[in-house]
Amino acid sequence: MRRERPLGCRSRLRSRSAVTVPKGRDDAARADAQAAGGKPAEEAVVIESFLAELAAFRDAASDTLGGVAESSGLEQARIEFLGARSGRLKAIQKLLSGLAAGDRPAGGRHFNEAKAAVTALFAAAQERLAAGDVTGVDGAADVIDVTLPGEPVRLGHVHPITQTIRRVQEIMARLGFESVDGPEVEDQWHNFEALAIPAEHPARDPLDNFYLAVARGADPLLLRSQTSTVQIRVMENRRPPLRIVSLGRVYRPDTADATHYPMFHQVEGLLIEPGTTMAHLKSVLRQLASSFLGGDVHVRFRPSFFPFTEPSVEFDMEWGGRWIEMGGAGMVDPAVLAAVGYDPDEVSGFAFGLGVERIAARRYGVADIRDFYRNDVRFLRQF
């Protein structure tokens, strides 16, 4: 309510400040003015006392005008300092004629400067009051309401899924894993065959994949169902040692609900180096878990089954006293190494995969992963 009515807010503040006009200072200034104007005009005036008068005039005007907090006070000050009939400036002007002839040019110059300065002070005070500024509290100028809203700066937001991917990428980069990217439309070899998923495997069922309706002989294309395809492509083109993370969108025909979406993101790690064991896998996952979740996090393996790793495990991370399922992992199956032309007796390696939506949902407390794809800025701006 209050944010929508800044004007009302401001006028309240102004009326409050109106009662704090600095009376004491005003009285003192007036006494000074009387003292200065008391001398007869025709009397000879020495330049020093003339300059002192000017200085006193400027100081008093500066004090008064700087502290003025309402228009009636400003008008009063104008009459006092700059008034054409009996203002203090007028009085000082009369002294000018009393100066010695030789001093008059210098005196005139100082007089004009002082006049310009006080006129400017008056204009500034006028402007300030017109803008509704709050001053005059205890006579100090430029006091602001520090609780008023700042000028807004509009910030953009990186999508929480991207933030999660970047976080994992950064952690893995410190462990020497390079991020790689690959096509989302894949062939049977990279999505299945090379990953030891044979033709009769249920994972290749047309109902469980998004096959493309383009004729391409006996090798239909599909939207990749896992990012392991990228690992195959990298291994086909490079020799060990190899440390990569492949990441991106993958597609599986699931009915969208709070925990499923037919399009989601995976991050998969792959390390191929001679002498790699499951102990290295567990240690790397522990380092990932500790960096991602913070603190010293332990990792647990549960045996599982994936065609492209052997042994295969699900890995859990201990968080808040509970074991949280994070993803699947295992030692790269010798059949996969052979498929890309590596010798399984010479090199070994491990692979692991994480579902990004799931860990992002957990990290940010998002109950329904469909929220990640609604693109509602009210949601996105929370990240």
């Binding site: 990428q169 991020s179 439309v185 493309l212 086909e236 393996f301 495990v313 794809y373």
Partner: protein
């Protein structure tokens, strides 16, 4: 799979608590779902991976428990007494499709009394969530849940013609299952037929006509092998999954075909009475090929990173049913049990040893050697582009890669081949792989506006999908296709925001600048904005962004424009929107991440404004090229101050560009004379190239 702990104790006597059992099973590969009490029994629901059909029966789970807790395993060896009269006198079996059904066996039991099951049987089935039907049907279910081999009992009297034929279903053949629903079959499915038609959908479900009823006295007991793909096709095609189809899809233990038949026959005689006829009527060849595997004991440590003594390795394998054929110091040779079709290589044995020994023994503090790694050019390009857009206040969106017809555009900025289509659709009605992200972002903006979202300026980084023309895609040869896919996937960064062309152009230029690709860059890279016509954009208010590089053909790297009325309206938008799309896959090769820049000059600059009058049709881009050419090295910055037209003061068809030039030298303070000469040269060049006249 639901396990009854009472039932489990028939085969293995465990002193451990249910919690300890569940924990050990969980850590050895049988994921725990939940545990609950059923009367005096306890039900444990476990998740069984597709490679372990042996654990779809209580005996398989009992074997795991026996190995884990090092307890003996007891499996019954049923030997039903057979009558002299042979089963073959009552039934004949023929397999026409060995591919669908490698092996079929039939036992005959005569003179049974069908009735309610004894309470213990009802209770056990209740624990695992199976309702009691009658004693004979309950026994077939019980034996399946015991050993994982599905069985089916027919009423022998209702099998017409005394003959069973296993064949392919005829296309359009109709079948009424025991659930009394009628299904239309296809020829990928197998059926068990009598003389007149199907009496069972092979491996899935029996029919209503031959089911065991109160008046049944003679039984045909089927125990067979069915091909997983055919069973799967039937169960999925008809949406008729059963406990039987689930197990056949995963290939049960071949040795259990006979065991289950004997076990069920013995139980039927014991519980429902009757007499087992002599012999088994069989057809086909039992498919079983247990592997022989050599294990190097040292291999276990090489894979796992922990030492497990050879005798422990052997004890684990023996406990799991592997049979040692030879053992020597460094290795051993094993015959895999019939129920472990998944074990046929050394690595499979390593995994068995590992999961029984327990992965908790694998240490989690084995460091890997440090290895340097750097961000790839693509990563840096993507991140820099996103960083600019986020800094400028845009929110990153993620929209679906596959869209419906409504979000299609007739011409994509990236080629006019029609979109690729996928099946099934990603979501209802969305089956086209998008060629541009812009319609999706417009839709997202519209959805935000509909809920009162404030300034939903959005961007997205994602791939588009473009079919390559037939001749461009290399056809795969042999088993391993070429590395290139026949689909081009441009990496796009796109944004939609409220405002005019100029607002969007400023944003696009900021992104390009951050990538080191300025409109006028010293490194030879140059992007130019040229008018373009695209459906998505309002006529005359759109541009293509073209990258020019020395020695390479110019190519389109982006498009930008004010969105036309029709797409705006389709997205439910009213106010002006500007949209742009850049191809990061083309820009990443041009990106100048580590530019070498010169030191700023220490000498003062001179600013001069010139007011140049040109014809209306002369674009600013041409004028600025002339200015740069005319000014030479002294021009530091050329800024457009104002464009105005005034028929009276400038003349009809004319416009004025007010340009502010900042001149500076690297070698000394510029004199007024030098500045004057430069301005004169600029005016001359503009006059020559653009017909510009200096306004006095």
């Amino acid at each position: 799979m639901i396990i009854s702990t009472n039932w489990l104790s028939d085969y293995v006597s465990l002193s451990a608590s249910t919690e300890a059992l569940v924990e050990r099973l969980l850590l050895s590969g049988l994921n725990h779902e939940s545990t609950w009490a059923v009367g005096t029994d306890t039900a444990i629901e476990i998740e069984v991976t597709s490679n372990r059909p042996d654990c779809l029966g209580h005996i398989g789970v009992a074997r795991e428990a026996a190995v884990l807790f090092e307890r003996p395993l007891h499996i019954p060896d049923p030997r039903p007494q057979e009558a002299a009269a042979p089963a073959a006198a009552d039934i004949a079996v023929e397999i026409l499709e060995p591919e669908l059904c490698p092996f079929y066996s039939a036992r005959v039991i005569k003179g049974v009394r069908v009735g309610p099951s004894p309470q213990w049987l009802v209770d056990r089935l209740a624990t695992v969530g199976v309702a009691s039907v009658n004693n004979v049907v309950d026994i077939t279910n019980y034996v399946m849940l015991e050993c994982g081999q599905p069985l089916h009992a027919f009423d022998l009297a209702r099998i017409r013609g005394g003959r069973i034929t296993v064949r392919r279903a005829l296309p359009g053949e109709s079948f009424t299952a025991i659930n009394h629903k009628t299904y239309t079959l296809t020829d990928v499915m197998g059926v068990i037929a009598d003389a007149e038609g199907p009496v069972a959908l092979a491996g899935v479900m029996g029919d209503a006509g031959t089911e065991i009823a109160a008046d049944t006295t003679d039984i045909l007991l089927e125990s067979a092998q069915f091909a997983p793909l055919a069973v799967r096709a039937a169960a999925r095609g008809l949406v008729l999954a059963s406990g039987s189809s689930y197990r056949f899809e995963r290939v049960p233990d071949p040795a259990a075909v006979d065991w289950a038949s004997r076990r069920a026959a013995a139980m039927i005689v014991e519980i429902a009475g009757g007499q087992v006829s002599g012999g088994v009527v069989e057809a086909g060849q039992l498919k079983a090929s247990p592997a022989t595997i050599h294990l190097r004991h040292g291999r276990v440590a090489e894979v796992l990173g922990i030492e497990i003594p050879a005798d422990r390795q052997q004890a684990i394998l023996s406990g799991l049913g592997f049979v040692a054929e030879t053992v020597d110091g460094a290795g051993s040779r094993w015959r895999a049990p019939t129920w472990r079709r998944d074990c046929w290589r050394e690595i499979d044995l390593v995994e068995e040893i590992a999961r029984i020994e327990g992965y908790d023994r694998v240490p989690e503090n084995e460091p890997i050697a440090a290895r340097p790694v750097a961000e790839s050019a693509r990563e840096r390009t993507v991140r820099r582009a996103a960083d600019v857009l986020v800094a400028a206040g845009l929110c990153e969106a993620m929209t679906r890669s596959v869209v419906g017809e409504r979000l299609e555009v007739t011409a994509s900025p990236w080629g006019d081949t029609p979109p690729l289509v996928c099946a099934p659709p990603l979501v209802r009605g969305a089956d086209r792989l998008r060629r541009t992200l812009l319609p999706s972002l417009l839709e997202a903006r519209g959805a935000n506006m509909a809920v009162g979202g404030q300034r939903p300026d959005l961007f997205e980084t994602a791939r588009g999908y473009l079919a390559r023309s037939a001749d461009a895609s290399g056809q795969a040869s042999g088993n391993r296709p070429t590395a290139a896919t026949p689909v081009e996937e441009p990496l796009l960064v796109s944004f939609v925001m409220g405002g005019s062309f100029a607002v969007g152009k400023g944003m696009a230029e900021a992104v390009l600048e951050r990538l080191g690709i300025a409109t006028h860059a010293a490194n030879g890279l140059r992007v130019v904005f040229q008018p373009v016509v695209l459906d998505l954009f309002a006529a005359g208010r759109a541009a293509e962004i073209v990258l020019e590089r020395p020695g390479l053909p110019a190519e389109r790297v982006g498009v930008i424009g004010e969105v036309a009325v029709a797409p705006l309206a389709a997205a439910g938008l009213k106010n002006p929107v500007v949209a742009a799309e850049l191809r990061l896959d083309r820009l990443e090769f041009a990106v100048d991440m580590e530019p070498s820049r010169c030191r700023p000059s220490d000498f003062p600059s001179i600013e001069r404004d010139v007011n140049l009058i040109v014809d209306q049709k002369v674009p600013w881009g041409d004028l600025v090229t002339a200015i740069r050419e005319g000014s030479g090295v002294l021009l530091e910055e050329c800024r457009l101050v104002q464009v105005w037209t005034d028929a009276e003061r400038l003349g009809a068809g004319k416009k004025s560009f007010v340009v502010s030039l900042r001149l500076r030298s690297h070698s000394g303070t510029l004199s007024g004379e030098e500045a004057k000469r430069t301005v004169e040269a600029v005016v001359a060049a503009c006059g020559r190239q653009c017909g510009a006249v200096l306004r006095a």
